[in-house]
Each structure stands twice: as C-alpha cells, then as structure tokens.
C-alpha cells in the first residue's frame, strides 16, 4: 500500500473514531480517549528510535515535559493557537534530542540510554528552579470552555491528538518502507558492519533521535490545556517513561502496528484500572508486564500472533 493511500485510510478511521466518540456524547470518553491517543503518539515516537534503530530512550518523560513546558512558557508571553504550540513544542524537543544524540551517540549505545535517564532528572531540576513557568508550585492554564465549529474544548483537544496520532503512525510506516528504514535496520542488526559498508550511521541515528524527540514534544504541547494545572511532577510523571517503553515492547517493536496495539491495550487497561483499583497498582502491572514480555515474548504480541499464524499454516 502506498503511503498516501495509507494516510487517507488512517484519516478515514480517525474521522470515524471522532464521530463515534461524539455519538457516545460523554465527556469522560473524550478525556480517556485523549490519554490513550497521547500514548499512541508517545509509543510510536519511542519506537522510531528504540524499535527501528535499537537505541533505548528512557527519557520520554523529559521530551514530553519539554513540549508541555514550551506551551506554558509561550502561554505566559502571548496566547497562541494550539496547533502552532504543537509545532514549537516539537521543535524544542527535537533540538534537545539532536543535541543529546550528538554528544552521546558516537559512543556505545548504553551511554545514550544512561544520558536520557539522567536528562529527565536534570530537566526536572531546571523546571523546579524556574519560577517563570511556575517552579515547583506549578502553573495554571485556563482553558476556554468552547471553541468555534467543534464545540466543547475537550473535543477540540481530542481531535488534535487524533491528528497527531495519524501523523505519527504515517511517519513510522513511511520510514519502515523507505531507504531510511533500511538504514535504521542495518544499525539495529549490526552497526559495525553497516558503518563499514558505508551507511552514514551517525547521521541516521541523529535523524531518528530528532524525529522521535520531536514527536514526543508534540504529544506534550497540548497537555497543559488538557490538565489545566501543570506541575513538574505530573509533566515528568513516571508513567510516561515506563509506558512509552512498555507499550512498543509489549505490542512488538518491528513495525508500526506493535506500538499501536500496545498503546491501545495498555492505555485502555490503565484507564479502567485507575478508576477501579489505584494508579500505583496499575503502574506495577505495566512494569511487571514489561519484564515478563521482554523475557518470555521478545517480539511482543505481534511476534506471538505471527508465530501462531506460522504454526497453523
């Protein structure tokens, strides 16, 4: 299937999802749906670097928070429309990703992973000490109740996140089928051999880091409007770091379908578990699932299904 056809198909699905949700006509569904879609974007973004090139990013929360705090910063200066904020948030996170990648990706992969882990702690320190964006107290963003054409504001945010999910999935699938994707795969399989055969590995890794970081920042940019009151602890929440790794790992890292399945499954499960049990227990479940899947089913749900199909044939 050509990328353009795929994009049109995804848009059709997205429109169907939007009208189905509107037909249910319950605000909670929009709030829950927004969170699940946000995880679709984060998981897909993580997988562009982690799944395709094999470099692990533990700092998803940092990139997400960068997007969210760019919005807070700009909101205080001058209120801009959210789509523009998404572009800016993505830009900021992309640049930080590029810079970090440039410093650490020339070395062994482990250093990049460690640096991303530390990045989250440091950025949180910076934000906590920066009074302009609210410091440790947090910042209020007052969200309008209604917006022209669409109606309730939460529906507008939901629609934006739906669009972001469509963009992220199209990019991920596009990469898989392009020369870029083959380049990424050579890095994942044998970086030394790739380098020796003339694959520009550093440049490819930097492209992946920048793209992945930018998409995470884009997912974070509308977040202050969604939550209304942004604290460092909610923007840098553990759930972002762990979910954006667990979802692709559980779904399957080799194609765009894996993160999508993982995000929808785990995201919905958590929406239900948070309401019925507690948020700490549901994070524990995600962590245990992650450990279990990497040990028992290294190729995730997609791998399990592929194995099952092969066996029944």
């Amino acid at each position: 299937m050509r990328t353009r056809v795929f994009l049109l198909l995804l848009i059709a699905v997205a429109i169907a999802v939007f009208f189905a949700t509107r037909w249910v006509n319950n605000d909670y569904v929009f709030f829950a749906g927004y969170t699940v879609l946000q995880f679709v974007v984060l998981a897909t973004a993580w997988n562009i670097l982690g799944g395709y090139t094999g470099y692990v990013n533990f700092g998803s929360a940092a990139f997400f928070a960068l997007g969210a705090y760019s919005t807070v910063f700009l909101h205080k200066l001058y209120p801009l429309p959210i789509p523009l904020l998404i572009v800016i948030g993505g830009g900021v996170s992309g640049i930080v990703g590029l810079g970090m990648g440039y410093l650490t990706l020339r070395l062994r992969g482990a250093f990049f992973a460690i640096a991303t882990l530390a990045l989250a702690v440091v950025l949180q320190t910076l934000i906590v000490n920066w009074d302009y964006v609210g410091g440790s107290r947090g910042a209020y963003i007052i969200r309008p109740n209604e917006i022209a054409l669409i109606g309730p504001y939460i529906q507008y945010l939901f629609l934006l996140m739906l669009a972001l999910a469509v963009i992220a999935l199209t990019i991920a699938r596009g990469i898989e089928r392009s020369q870029l994707g083959y380049g990424f795969a050579t890095i994942r399989d044998d970086e030394l051999a790739a380098e020796a055969s003339g694959v520009p590995t550093l440049r490819l890794k930097l492209i992946a880091t920048t793209l992945s970081g930018a998409l995470m920042g884009m997912a974070g940019a509308p977040f202050p409007y969604y939550i209304g009151y942004l604290q460092p602890s909610s923007a840098f929440g553990l759930e972002y770091a762990v979910n954006s790794i667990a979802m692709p790992m559980i779904g399957g890292t080799t194609s765009w379908v894996g993160p999508l399945i993982g995000a929808i499954l785990l995201g919905s499960l958590q929406q239900i578990a948070t309401v019925t049990i507690s948020s700490a227990v549901n994070l524990l479940i995600v962590g245990l699932l992650l450990v279990a899947f990497v040990i028992i089913a290294p190729n995730g749900i997609v791998g399990l299904v592929q194995g099952w199909i092969r066996r029944t044939k």
Binding site: V56, F58, F111, L117, A280
Partner: protein, 297 residues
C-alpha cells in the same frame, strides 16, 4: 576590619565545603562500586542498581526500627542475601538476553522494568513517607578548629573506603578476583585457563549487588529515604563511573570525590536544589571530551 572578617568567613565556608564534598564523595564511592563492577568490568548496563540500594536502605530501616540493630551491621548481615539476589538476577539476564545477544534493547528494558517495579512495590508497601534510622553517630559532629566533621557523613565515608579497599584487594590477589578482571579482557583466554566466564560473571554480579546492601545502609544514615530517591542516583552513579574510567575501582574513588566536591560547592554557593544537575553536566562533558575517563583503559 569588616573586610578581613568576610574573607575569613568565606575561607571557613570554602574549607568546610571541601570537607563536606570529600565526605560525600566517600559515600558516592560505595554507591558506585557496584556499577563499576557490573557496567565497568562485566559490561552489563545495570541501571536498576539504585533500586537495589534503596531496597538495602529499607531493610536497614526495618531491622533498625524493630530490633534497634546498627544499620551498617544489618547491611553486613545482608551481604549473602544480596549476593544471591544478584546471582539470580544475572542468571535470568544471561538466559534471556546475553546468550541470545539481545542485551542492548531488551536487556536494558529488563533492568528498567526491575528499577520501576521495585520502586512501585516499595511505594505500595511503605508509601511515599521519608524513613530514617537511629544510630549513636547520627547527630554529633567532630570539630577541628574551623573544620566540621559531621559523624553522620564521616562514618559512611570510612565504611565506603573500607569496602573499596576490600574489593580492590579481592580483585587483585585472589584467583576469582583476577578471573573477574580477566572476563573484561579476554573471555576465550579465561576459558582456556579453566574458568567458566558465565560462572565468573555470576559471582561478580552477585558481589556488585551485595555492595548495594552496604550502600543502602549508608544512604539511609546520611539522609531520610523514600522510594523515588534512587532515581537521583542513576545520573550520579554513571557519571562517576564514566568520569573515573570504566572498570577502574581507584578511578571510581577519584571520580566520586570529584563529583562530591563539585556538588558540595554547587550546594554551598548556588543552593542545594541545583546539585542533581551537576552529575548530568559531568556525564555529558566527560562523554564529549574524554569518554575513556580519568583512569580509563
């Protein structure tokens, strides 16, 4: 007159910042030694190490609160338990990832999952309240002229240096110790010498986790502990490891002291809330300019 007083005061401040930094660095040595072995020598990127340290802190806390036993004594009693825990974790890691050559993506995610699961379990059991221990050396302080040596910092520093000395002697003078060093250099040669690399790595990883028991007890002597404190140590531990040079225990001591002094200066002159950023800066600068570290191979 007033000016002289000011100079004197800032000199006091300076010398005490250096002392505090060295004592803190001593403690950081204990925290990092385990990672120096696992990451530096065995090439296992155990990012879950801080979680084991926090586990050590909570065990020291429980025993201290129930039975009133000294936290350092508790940690020494816990050494075999942590050793077995480490050996078990290595066995799982080896079977699931190392043997299949999947260390980089899945192995790292495995340790990340361990880190995360341990933290969330501690939160579920103990909540997010800060816990602390009681011991006679928490509180009093030795004074030498203008110099101030809080025992709360001095005792962990000495214990950490003793741990370092014991490990360095073990690695340099025993057969298994030297085999552990050899694992990093040439596994085939090691096999020809009649030692199984997997067994040696299991022992070494067990030792590395055992040090976390001691580091955890020292941590809870120095400061009250809650489950997420461990995350602050990930950046520090790896920054020290890289700065000192991978696989070099003396390098680890030097790196730890340097970071301790830098953080102490930052805390004294800019405020303690900036201290966590120092380690990250050190890590990035070392990786950018001298990735082999100070005493690196």
């Amino acid at each position: 007159m007033g000016r002289g007083k000011q100079v004197e005061l800032s000199f006091d401040l300076l010398i005490n910042a250096v002392i505090a930094g060295i004592l803190l660095g001593g403690f950081y040595t204990a925290v990092t030694l385990g990672v120096s072995i696992s990451f530096g020598i065995l090439d296992i990127v155990n990012i879950a190490h801080p979680a084991f340290i926090i586990l050590g802190s909570y065990i020291a806390y429980i025993v201290n609160a129930r039975l009133g036993i000294d936290p350092i004594a508790v940690s020494i009693l816990m050494l075999p338990v942590f050793y077995l825990l480490g050996a078990g974790v290595y066995q799982v890691y080896y079977e699931s990832f190392e043997r299949r050559g999947q260390e980089s993506l899945r192995g790292l995610s495995f340790f990340f999952g361990l880190l995360f699961v341990t933290e969330v379990m501690l939160i579920l059991v103990f909540g997010v309240d800060y816990r602390y221990v009681e011991a006679p050396y928490i509180g009093p302080s030795w004074r030498l002229g203008v110099m101030d040596f809080p025992l709360r910092m001095l005792v962990p520093c000495i214990a950490a240096l003793a741990l370092f000395a014991a490990l360095e002697l073990y690695l340099s003078y025993t057969f298994i110790g030297r085999a552990i060093k050899a694992v990093a250099q040439d596994q085939l040669a090691l096999r020809l010498m009649g030692a199984s690399p997997v067994r040696i790595k299991r022992i070494a990883f067990g030792i590395s986790i055992a040090t976390a028991a001691v580091a955890g007890a020292l941590l809870i002597i120095i400061q009250p502990v809650e489950p997420s404190v461990g995350r602050e140590y990930i950046g520090r531990v790896f920054a020290i490891c890289v700065l000192g040079g991978l696989g070099s225990l003396p390098g680890t001591v030097i790196g730890a002291m340097l970071l301790g002094i830098l953080e102490s200066f930052t805390a004294t002159f800019y405020g303690p809330s900036w201290a966590p950023a120092v380690a990250f800066g050190v890590l990035l600068l070392t990786l950018a300019f001298r990735p082999a570290g100070l005493l690196g191979r």
